[in-house]
């Protein structure tokens, strides 16, 4: 299985190459990609240089242009597609049907991947993307169990890529407006979720409250580590009780499921985290490289070394083990 690694900066990209990535995904430093954070991502020149470097080292570069183009400004996304093709990207990761149509007709030889933001969660939806745009790979949403992934792989004609580590969306990706409801900015439109510009930490009655867009997302004892207020990982209250209603502040770690994913016929494993630093990229990529080497040689996989890199220092296998059902 290919190991697909994140890079938010040229430095992280070099780190990922050294740590054993087979392919690296990255985006331009604007609203065309779904990790549009300040100080992150690649200029046109940086991308060209990164691709040249990666190709010298035998590593592929996948360019994510996976927000939904803003009406009236579609040409900005068209330019991103054209520039990524000209820079010799190995694949483009796209979500919008209008943009997929543009890329497929303008650059018919370019390899296209369907972004997780396109929410292709079953063989029929995947078939629509492969037949309409000639997409060669689909990144599966994090809502499926390993058995369901295996069934999809048997039925579709394209490759599949699944997330194995990092931030975990509990909502279907590409179909969530929670962030823009609280802040006016969303993953689909601006490429951000729960943006830092709308985050505040306040001391109140001996507690630290984390707020997003004015809404209290969590509350901590003084001295307790106050986590980042990602909206769906907050603590809320209902008439049936108070707690982490959607999901605890945990990260995905599917290291223990690699055998099952390989047997399911998955082509590529993806690590989330273009917004994370070099230490994260180095640690997580190297760990999964070793795990994949162990898998290939039939040795046991050493799981559970990655806790320091996780949100809330806790992990879950998410939907993969069917506990959501």
């Amino acid at each position: 299985m290919e190991l697909i690694c994140p890079a938010g900066t040229p430095a992280a990209l070099k780190t990922a190459i050294d740590a054993g990535a087979d392919a690296i995904y990255c985006g331009f430093n604007d609203e065309t990609n779904a990790r549009n954070f300040p100080g992150l991502n690649f200029s046109r020149d940086e991308l060209r240089e990164a691709i040249a470097l990666a190709h010298r080292r035998g590593v592929k570069i996948l360019v994510a242009i996976n927000t939904f183009p803003r009406a009236g400004a579609v040409s900005l996304w068209h330019r991103a597609v054209d520039d990524a093709v000209a820079a010799k990207a190995d694949a483009l990761i796209l979500a919008d049907v209008g943009l997929l149509e543009y890329a497929a007709s303008r650059h018919p030889a370019q390899r296209l991947h369907v972004s997780v933001q396109a929410a292709a969660a079953n063989a029929d939806a995947i078939g629509f993307y492969t037949e309409t745009f000639g997409a060669r790979r689909v990144v599966l949403p994090r809502v499926l169990s390993v058995a369901e992934i295996a069934a999809i792989v048997r039925e579709v004609t394209c490759e599949t890529e699944v997330f194995v580590f990092g931030g975990l969306c509990v909502m279907a990706e590409g179909r969530c407006s929670l962030s823009s409801y609280a802040t006016g900015q969303s993953p689909n439109m601006q490429g951000v979720c729960s943006p830092a510009s709308h985050v505040a930490y306040e001391q109140e009655n001996g507690r630290t409250k984390s707020r997003l867009g004015g809404f209290t997302i969590n509350s901590f004892e003084i001295g307790e580590a106050a986590g980042y207020p990602t909206l769906c990982k907050g603590r809320f209250t209902t008439k049936y009780g108070t707690g982490y209603i959607f999901e605890d502040p945990v990260s995905l770690d599917a290291a223990t499921l690699l055998t099952g994913l390989r047997d399911a016929g998955v082509t590529a494993l993806k690590i989330e985290g273009r917004q994370r630093g070099r230490a994260y990229v180095e640690g997580v990529v190297r760990h999964f490289r070793q795990a994949l080497n162990a898998l290939d040689s039939g040795r046991p996989i050493d799981a559970g070394q990655l806790t320091p890199f996780t949100e809330g220092q806790a992990t879950t296998v998410g939907a993969y083990r069917k506990t959501w059902r």
């Binding site: 939904f68 183009p69 803003r70 009406a71 009236g72 579609v74 979500a95 919008d96 049907v97 209008g98 943009l99 149509e101 543009y102 929410a119 292709a120 969660a121 079953n122 063989a123 029929d124 939806a125 078939g127 629509f128 037949e131 809502v143 499926l144 369901e148 509990v170 909502m171 279907a172 179909r175 969530c176 407006s177 929670l178 823009s180 409801y181 609280a182 802040t183 006016g184 689909n188 439109m189 409250k209 867009g213 004015g214 809404f215 209290t216 969590n218 509350s219 809320f236 209250t237 209902t238 008439k239 049936y240 009780g241 108070t242 209603i245 959607f246 999901e247 939907a319 959501w324 059902r325």
Partner: protein, 315 residues
């Protein structure tokens, strides 16, 4: 301006669901009714016995009926349900997930608010494949609505104009999780909350509502005050989403206001009486946080405890 009624998103008792639609058929001045269980496939068997009679009554009353697809389709059983749905040849299917688009290509169909149409290119893509009406995602600002409507003049543009806003869909059921049940053995606990389960911040501020696998806003969209601007932008239909209130009266208020028989301010006052559960919002349309209520004119705004700073140019 036409009116469309969205599907009931909540788990209402089957007889109540049937009687709701019978009354819509008999009394509501609405042109189009989207129908069917689109949130959770486990609920579908309950309304299935009543569906034919409801569709027949609505059509006999002259309403256009749009059977809607599931928002999130993953199980084999759900895919079979969707395959059956697209065989409904005499009705215009409303697509809420691309799962069921392929067999509809080349045949007239509707695109629901759960399909990502964020720009004129994706709207044109769907129009070329047979979409004759598109209900836009509620997240879109006015500038996008106008650009999309201008690009597909032959498509009826429907806009989410009343009701709690659907914000997210998940494979996980939060009603079941709250009741410490599994999704497969959920005991249909969502039926206890026919208007959704209020989710508050730890400070006690209303924030979201939970409806099984779906998460909606706590505020209620109300675009009555934006009707003139939307009409000028090329919007042809207002979509009203059923809440646990007198929806026939809600529809009548919209009809009266859109026909100029009542002004938006007085209509909004009446809507607030009919549905006092939730403050109104229209922030998405004005390019700010969705929960915000922006007064497009002198109309007073209603808003919960928090105030989002709004740039003057957005007002």
């Amino acid at each position: 301006m036409q009116l469309s009624l969205g599907p009931v998103l909540y788990n209402w008792a089957p007889e109540r669901w049937r009687d709701f639609y019978f009354r819509i058929a008999d009394e509501a001045p609405v042109d189009t009714v989207a129908i069917g269980e689109i949130v959770c496939s486990k609920r579908s068997p309950f309304i299935a016995p009543h569906l034919p009679a409801v569709v027949e009554r609505l059509r006999a009353a002259g309403k256009q009926v749009l059977p809607g697809s599931l928002i999130l389709t993953s199980l084999p059983r759900e895919r079979r349900q969707m395959a059956d749905l697209v065989n409904t040849e005499e009705l215009l299917v409303e697509v809420n997930d691309l799962t069921c688009l392929k067999p509809l290509i080349g045949r007239p169909h509707a695109i629901g608010p759960f399909i990502n149409i964020y720009n004129e290119a994706s709207a044109a893509f769907h129009a070329q494949r047979g979409a004759t009406r598109i209900c836009l995602p509620p997240e879109l600002p006015m500038s996008s609505v106008a650009a999309i409507a201008a690009a597909v003049p032959n498509v009826l543009i429907d806009i989410f104009a009343f009701g709690r806003v659907p914000l997210a869909i998940s494979a996980r059921c939060y009603h079941a999780r709250l009741h410490k049940l599994t999704k497969d053995n959920c005991q249909f606990v969502c039926e206890r909350d026919p208007d959704g389960l209020m989710l508050r911040t730890l400070d006690g501020a209303d924030f979201l509502t939970v409806n099984g696998v779906q998460t909606l806003s706590s505020t209620c969209t109300n675009l009555l005050g934006d009707a003139n601007a939307l009409s000028e932008a090329g919007v042809g239909s207002f979509r009203l989403s059923p809440q646990d209130c007198d929806m026939v009266a809600v529809i009548s208020v919209f009809r009266a206001a859109l026909d100029g028989r009542e002004d938006a301010e007085s209509g909004t006052r009446r809507l607030a009486q009919l549905y006092p559960n939730a403050p109104f919002s229209n922030g998405f349309l004005h390019g700010v946080a969705g929960f915000v209520s922006v007064a497009p004119d002198a109309r007073s705004s209603r808003q919960h405890g928090f105030r989002e700073p709004i740039e003057p140019h957005m007002l």
